[in-house]
């Protein structure tokens, strides 16, 4: 068997023609491997990152009738993702903090702390939003009162239409400080 290998090696002598042919075959094989990887890989990558490019319709969601909210009060309102995937279940739900400032002014705050996204809670007596994770505190207008949050609570667009308070799509606000 070893003899056979030796004989075979002798046949594959490294003549210039053989070397040139071998180099061509090498490049051909590697090129084909690259081609195969590309035609399989590109759709695969596209599939994995597709959610990034999924267009969420910019819909206005009704939070309630204007009369449902008292002036000076801050309450939670649950909203449903405007186009959830069918298997999202309860994860399609979201909550915003809605504050009625005056008869015609509403503020909808994101419930995510701008530090690291934890859910802030409204402390009615203190008129403060507090974060359970790293101790971020915000005033009733969303401005930072204490702790590590780098910026005020994010506000969503709100409008009053046909006696109803509406806001546009809920997103998790991502803080990009760098």
């Amino acid at each position: 068997m070893n003899e056979g290998i030796t004989n075979h090696s002798a046949v594959c002598a490294e003549t210039p023609e053989a070397l040139s042919r071998r180099r061509f075959l090498e490049k051909l094989s590697l090129g084909l491997a690259g081609f195969c990887a590309t035609i399989v890989g590109l759709p695969l990558i596209g599939f994995v990152i597709a959610p990034l490019f999924r267009k969420v319709p910019d819909q206005w969601v009704t939070l309630g009738k204007v009369g449902d909210f008292q002036v000076g009060k801050t309450v939670t309102v649950t909203v449903i993702d405007s186009s959830p995937l069918p298997w999202a279940g309860i994860t399609a739900k979201n909550t915003v903090w809605l504050r009625r400032e005056s008869d015609t002014t509403f503020i909808a705050f994101s419930a995510n702390c701008t530090h690291l996204g934890c859910p802030v809670r409204w402390m009615e007596g203190a008129e403060l939003f507090m974060c359970p994770c790293h101790g971020g505190v915000y005033y009733k207008d969303g401005n930072v009162a204490a702790g590590p949050p780098p910026r005020p609570l994010v506000r969503y667009n709100v409008r009053i239409e046909d006696g109803e308070v509406k806001m546009n799509s809920v997103v998790v606000p991502i803080t990009t400080t760098l």
């Binding site: 990034l52 649950t78 999202a88 309860i90 739900k93 690291l116 203190a126 799509s169 809920v170 991502i174």
Partner: protein
């Protein structure tokens, strides 16, 4: 019959090459590689426990945002051995992280990362990173309230990466919010992507251990010289080497048996972490905390100054990772013995103390408000009516108690105010409440004058009780 079995075995062995496959286990290793050398095998055994228990869990787990929690309830409460299996997977993960830490510390202290084992160390560091990644993604698959909010925290952290942060954050969330696409991608990463990469790197790591041999225990005064090391190592093996299997491996087997026993007993008697509430993002009464192996990092994020946090959050892990990867490039020769490398001992001790301290602080989380603090009783307030009593009640209602302690009740975010009346004058108390300062919000706009008066009266009353001895007249000279 025996002859028949032997013939069958010989046929199979000839065709498949089982003996050849197992031959590396009998590689010659230094005979002094004893109990300090068991942690690598223990890490691999923990990984095998994870693979086996993970595959079993996957028989019932549905990686769907709407159903995962229900299947976890089923696994925990109804499936035979389900609770045990979850425990096995949890304590297996804990064991793997502990063992990889011990293996890394031993390798570092023994200088085993030096020539020619630089890449063995580097592949090990990558395996550490993958293991932590497995730990984090695994916690998220426990698809409860904590897991769902932890995804948001992860996305926010990724958001701080320069230039591609926003993109990364949305990739983690699987869109603009937590939803149907969130859990399945973590499932794919935890069950296919990371384990696949880990199989490759474990193979590479073990191959490198075989290629360069198990390092001999260091001897003070015998530095590594890349020009002569390989020859000296071969001479050592020729002189006193022993086949790893079974001459040295029995210690690994004993240690790993103890480890498996510990994992099994913990899984059986203590069980897995309890499931939190369902992953409903509209429920804001949540207090997300990472599992114990990342709790130190959670604490770090609360303690680093806000001004540099954005940089540290991303740069620090990157720098630590790069630092660990290039250690053998910067220092691949010279003394290996820890007694001749006091800085190596200092680095390990400092790392253990830092991570340990942060872990302890993370457990206590004094920076988090105490939302569950009950109202102060009349006994603690030391009044049953009047401004002091009303102030004591307001101290709770205005959430002061969430951050301050009064006689052991309340939060620990701010100073203990049990005896604040001894330290601050009335004016100082008023100024502090109205204007805030330091890390305290200003309450000037949210307090009515009478509320402020009552609060100040309460705080002024917080003085140390006067003991009889203090009342005795001062002796005259």
């Amino acid at each position: 019959v025996k002859r028949l079995f032997k013939a069958a075995w010989l046929w199979l062995d000839d065709r498949i090459g089982i003996s050849v496959l197992l031959k590396p286990a009998k590689h010659i290793a230094p005979q002094d590689a004893k109990w300090w050398y068991v942690f690598g095998t223990a890490t691999m055994i923990s990984f095998i426990v994870q693979v086996v228990s993970g595959v079993a869990l996957a028989f019932s787990y549905i990686p769907s945002s709407s159903q995962a929690y229900e299947t976890l309830l089923f696994i925990t409460n109804d499936a035979p051995f389900g609770n045990f299996l979850r425990g096995l997977h949890y304590y297996g993960a804990s064991a793997m992280i502990l063992m990889i830490g011990a293996h890394m510390a031993q390798t570092f202290l023994f200088g085993a990362y030096k020539f020619p084992r630089e890449m063995t160390w580097s592949t090990g560091i990558l395996l550490l990173a993958f293991t932590l990644g497995m730990g984090f993604t695994g916690q998220l698959l426990r698809w409860d309230q904590t897991a769902a909010w932890s995804v948001v925290v992860a996305a926010e952290q990724a958001g701080r990466v320069p230039l591609i942060g926003d993109w990364l954050a949305h990739f983690i969330l699987g869109g603009n919010t937590i939803g149907g696409a969130t859990l399945s991608r973590f499932f794919a990463i935890h069950v296919f992507v990371l384990p696949g990469i880990m199989f490759v790197f474990i193979g590479l790591h073990v191959w490198l251990v075989m290629r360069h041999g198990i390092s001999e225990p260091p001897t003070a005064g015998k530095p590594v010289n890349p020009e002569t090391y390989r020859k000296e190592y071969q001479e050592l093996l020729d002189k006193s080497g022993r086949p790893f299997w079974p001459d040295l491996a029995w210690r690994d087997m004993i240690f790993c048996t103890g480890l498996i026993l510990a994992i099994v007993l913990l899984a059986f008697f203590i069980g897995p972490p309890a499931l939190d509430k369902p992953p409903d993002p509209s429920v804001l009464e949540a207090d997300p905390r990472p599992d114990w192996y990342l709790l130190w990092y959670f604490a770090l994020l609360a303690l680093i100054p806000a001004q540099i946090e954005g940089y540290l959050m991303i740069l620090m892990p990157v720098l630590i990772g790069i630092g660990l990867l290039i250690i053998p490039v910067l220092n691949n020769k010279g003394e290996r013995a820890a007694s001749r490398r006091p800085w190596a001992i200092a680095v390990v001790l400092l790392s253990v103390i830092t991570i340990g301290s942060l872990w302890v602080v993370g457990q206590q989380s004094p920076w988090s408000p105490n939302f569950a603090a009950p109202p102060l009783t009349a006994k603690v307030i030391r009044a049953t009516s009047g401004p002091v009593f009303e102030g004591g009640q307001l101290f709770h209602d205005k959430a002061c108690l969430s951050c301050h302690l009064i006689q052991g009740y309340g939060g620990r975010r701010g100073p203990d105010l049990t005896y604040v009346g001894d330290k601050l004058t009335r004016d100082n108390i008023v100024i502090r409440i109205v204007n805030g300062g330091g890390n305290m919000p200003a309450f000037g706009s949210s307090l009515k004058p009478q509320e402020l008066d009552a609060l100040v009266a309460f705080l002024e009353s917080r003085k140390r009780p006067i003991r009889p001895r203090d009342q005795s007249p001062t002796p005259r000279n």
